[in-house]
Amino acid sequence: MTMTEHRQAAATTRTPYTMAAALTAALRDAMTEDRTVVIFGEDVGPLGGVFRVTDGLSKEFGESRIWDSPLAESGIVGTAIGMAMNGLRPVVEMQFDAFSYPAFEQITSHVAKMRNRTKGRVQLPLVIRIPYAGGIGGVEHHSDSSEAYWTHTPGLTVVSPSNPADAYSMLREAIASDDPVIFLEPKSRYWLRDELALPIATAPMTRAQVLREGTDVTLLAYGPTVKTAMQSAELASVEGLDIEVIDLRSLSPFDDETVSASVRKTSRAAIIHEASQFGGYGAEVAARVTERNFFYLAAPILRITGFDIPFPSPKLEEYNLPTAERVLAALDSWEW
C-alpha cells in the first residue's frame, strides 16, 4: 500500500477520478475558494481545453474568471506576469510542451527572475500548466518533454504528478504557492483512474514519495514513467529482484533527503524519463546522487531514457519510450 493510498484510506466515500478529472476538480475548488484565481489560455474556455482539463469551468465561473485568450504563448505568460503583479493568481495552459517555447523568454527572463530582481517585493504566484511528454501517438511537436529546460532555470519550481490524488493535491498546492510553478501533466496518464475522496492532501508538492519499498535497487521516476517503474518492479520481483520505487514528484527542488536515504540502503539506482538523455533531467539526478553518495554506490547510476533524437512520429514513438523491459535490461547490465 502506497502512502498516497494510506491517506486515501483515511478518507470517506470515494468516487473514481481520472487524472484529468482530478485536475479539473482542483481547479474548480481553487477558483471557488480564492476569487483571485483566474484561468486563461488557448481553448480553455467553452471547449474545456484540448484534453478537457478545464471542462465545465467556463460555464460555472464565467468569462471574468476563465476565458480564451488570443493565440500567443508569450502573450499568455507575459500578461499572466502582469496579472500576478496586480494581485491575481493566474493559471495558464500551454497546449503542449513544444508550444511553450514561444514563451521561453517570458518564463526564463521574467517568471523565474522577478522575485529575485525585486528582492522579493514583487512575487509571481502563477501556475503554467503543460500537458506533458508523449505516449499518445501525437504528431510532431505534440510529445516533447521540456522539463530539462525549466529545471535548469533558477527561480522556477517544477513538479509533475503521476496519479490522480497527487494531481489534485499538487495542483492545489501549486496554485496556493507564492512562487511560480511549472506544472507538468503527463498526457499519457490523463485517463489513469483512482478512487478518491476529494479534497485530498497528499505529501507536500516538493517531496518525493517512496511508492514501493525494496532493498536491491532504487528506481527513480516522475510523471509518466512512474507507472513504468512500478511495472518494472513487479516484473523484477518475479526474478527475485527487490526494487524500491520513488516517485520524485518535484523535479525542482530535488528531494535529496528521500533519495539519498534510499540509495544508501540499496547502493544501486536508476532514473527513468522520456526526454532524450543528453543533458536531460536524469543527468542532474545521476550527478547529484553520485556526488552525495559515491562511497555507498556499488555501481554507476543508470539512465533509462529516450534516445538523443527528436521525438519520433506516432508509429515509431514506442521504440523511443522507456519500457519496463528496457529498465530490466539496464539493471541486468550491472555487474551484480
Binding site: E42, L71, A72, G75, Y101, G135, G137, V139, K315, E318
Partner: protein, 369 residues
C-alpha cells in the same frame, strides 16, 4: 512612403453565391480569369473535396493518426497553389493538404505524415513545397527568408505562405510581416480566416476591423477577399505574385472562409459553435457557386463533369488503397537524420535498439505500457 493600398470595406468578390459575375465596387480593379482557369480551379476543388471525404473516412476507421480537414476552404487552398509557378515555393501548414495535392505532391506521400509514419514524407525540393508546419506562424519566417535569399541571388522565385486567423496572433506572424516589408521580399501572405482557431472565434483573436488591416502598419498592400470565391482569390493572389516577382515586395491577403469540418477528427465543434452557423455557411459554398457559373456560361459540360468525377473517384480509390497497406518502417532510421554524420553516441544507441529488435521479446510501447 506611398500610402499603402488599404483593404476594401467588403471582401473582394468576382462571382457571387448565385454563380453570377460581380460587377462594380466589390470587383473593381480585377478581371475574371478565363474559363479555362476557372474550369481547372473547379476541377481541383471537386477532386480535393472528394479526396477529403475519403481521408476523413479513413481517419474515422483509424487509418490516420489525425487529419485537419479543409472542407469549405477549397477556394483558398486551390487558388493559392494554382497561382504559383512550379518554380515558386509554397510554405504550408497542417491545414493545407489540399494545396499540396493541387501542387502535385502525391496523396500517399502527404498522408504518410498524418498516418504517423514520419514527420513528413515528400521531397520538399522536388515539389518546391516546404513541410506542413505545425508551430503556428513559424513557417512564415522561413518563407520570408527563402524569398529574401532568392532576391539576393537574383532569382525570380516567389514564396507564398498560408496561415490561419489564429496564427496571426503569434509574434512570429508580426516578425514575418515586418521582415518581409523592410526587406521587400518577394512573398505573398495568404491568411485563411476560417473564423476559428480550434474553438476560439475570430472576435477573441483580434479587435481589428479585418485582419488584413494589419498590412497598413507594414506599408504593405493588403487585400480583404471572399475566401469562398475561387475567382477572386486566384486573381488577387496572382496579381500579388506578379508584383512580388517584379520587385514590388510582399502582399497580405485575407481570405474570408469557414471550416465546415471539426478542427481535427478529435475535435468537438458542438462545444463552441452552432449548427445554424455552419448551416448558414453551406450557402456560401465555394464549389457550388463556381459550378453554377460555369454551367450557366456553358463551360462546364456533362462530359467534363463526368471526367472530373472520374478523376476524383480514381484519386479516392488510389488513396484508399495506399492507406490500407500498413507501411513498412525501419525504427533504426530514427538515428540516421539527426545529423549529417552519425555521432558515436547515436551509433551506440542505434546498436542498442538493433539488439533489442533482434531479441525475441519485442519492445512494447510506452503508450501501451
Amino acid at each position: 512612403m506611398a500610402e499603402p493600398i488599404r483593404p476594401t470595406e467588403l471582401p473582394i468578390r468576382l462571382i457571387d453565391e448565385k454563380g453570377a459575375a460581380v460587377r462594380g465596387k466589390r470587383a473593381t480593379g480585377f478581371e475574371l480569369p478565363d474559363a479555362s482557369v476557372l474550369l481547372s480551379l473547379y476541377r481541383r476543388m471537386v477532386v480535393a473535396r472528394r479526396f477529403e471525404a475519403q481521408v476523413t473516412a479513413l481517419t474515422r476507421q483509424g487509418r490516420l493518426a489525425t487529419y485537419p480537414s479543409a472542407l469549405g476552404q477549397e477556394a483558398c487552398e486551390v487558388s493559392a497553389a494554382s497561382a504559383l509557378e512550379t518554380t515558386d515555393w509554397l510554405f504550408p501548414t497542417y491545414r493545407d493538404t489540399i494545396a499540396l495535392l493541387t501542387r502535385g505532391v502525391p496523396a500517399s506521400e502527404i498522408l504518410s505524415y498524418f498516418r504517423g509514419d514520419w514527420h513528413m514524407s515528400f521531397d520538399p525540393n522536388e515539389h518546391k513545397t516546404a513541410p506542413q508546419i505545425t508551430p503556428l506562424a513559424t513557417q512564415a519566417l522561413h518563407a520570408v527568408g527563402f524569398a529574401t535569399a532568392a532576391k539576393l541571388k537574383g532569382e525570380s522565385t516567389v514564396a507564398l505562405t498560408l496561415m490561419g486567423d489564429g496564427a496571426t496572433s503569434e509574434g512570429d506572424a508580426h516578425e514575418a510581416f515586418n521582415f518581409a516589408s523592410v526587406w521587400q521580399a518577394p512573398i505573398v501572405f495568404v491568411i485563411q480566416n476560417n473564423g476559428y482557431a480550434i474553438s476560439v472565434p475570430i472576435a477573441k483573436q483580434t479587435h481589428a476591423r479585418v485582419l488584413s488591416d494589419r498590412a497598413i502598419g507594414y506599408g504593405m498592400p493588403g487585400y480583404y477577399v471572399d475566401g469562398n470565391d475561387a475567382a477572386a482569390m486566384y486573381t488577387v493572389i496572382s496579381q500579388a505574385i506578379e508584383r512580388a516577382r517584379k520587385g514590388g515586395g510582399p502582399t497580405m491577403i485575407e481570405g474570408l472562409t469557414y471550416r465546415m469540418e471539426s478542427h481535427t477528427n478529435s475535435d468537438d465543434p458542438t462545444r463552441y459553435r452552432t449548427a445554424a452557423e455552419t448551416e448558414e455557411w453551406h450557402g456560401h459554398d465555394p464549389i457550388d457557386r463556381l459550378d453554377k457559373y460555369l454551367t450557366k456560361t456553358g463551360a462546364l459540360t456533362e462530359a467534363i463533369t463526368a471526367d472530373i468525377h472520374a478523376e476524383a473517384e480514381a484519386l479516392a480509390q488510389a488513396t484508399r488503397d495506399a492507406m490500407n497497406v500498413e507501411p513498412v518502417l525501419d525504427p533504426l532510421e530514427l538515428f540516421d537524420h539527426v545529423y549529417a554524420n552519425r555521432r558515436p553516441a547515436l551509433i551506440e544507441q542505434r546498436e542498442f535498439l538493433a539488439r533489442e529488435l533482434a531479441a525475441t521479446i519485442p519492445s512494447t510501447g510506452g503508450s501501451a505500457s
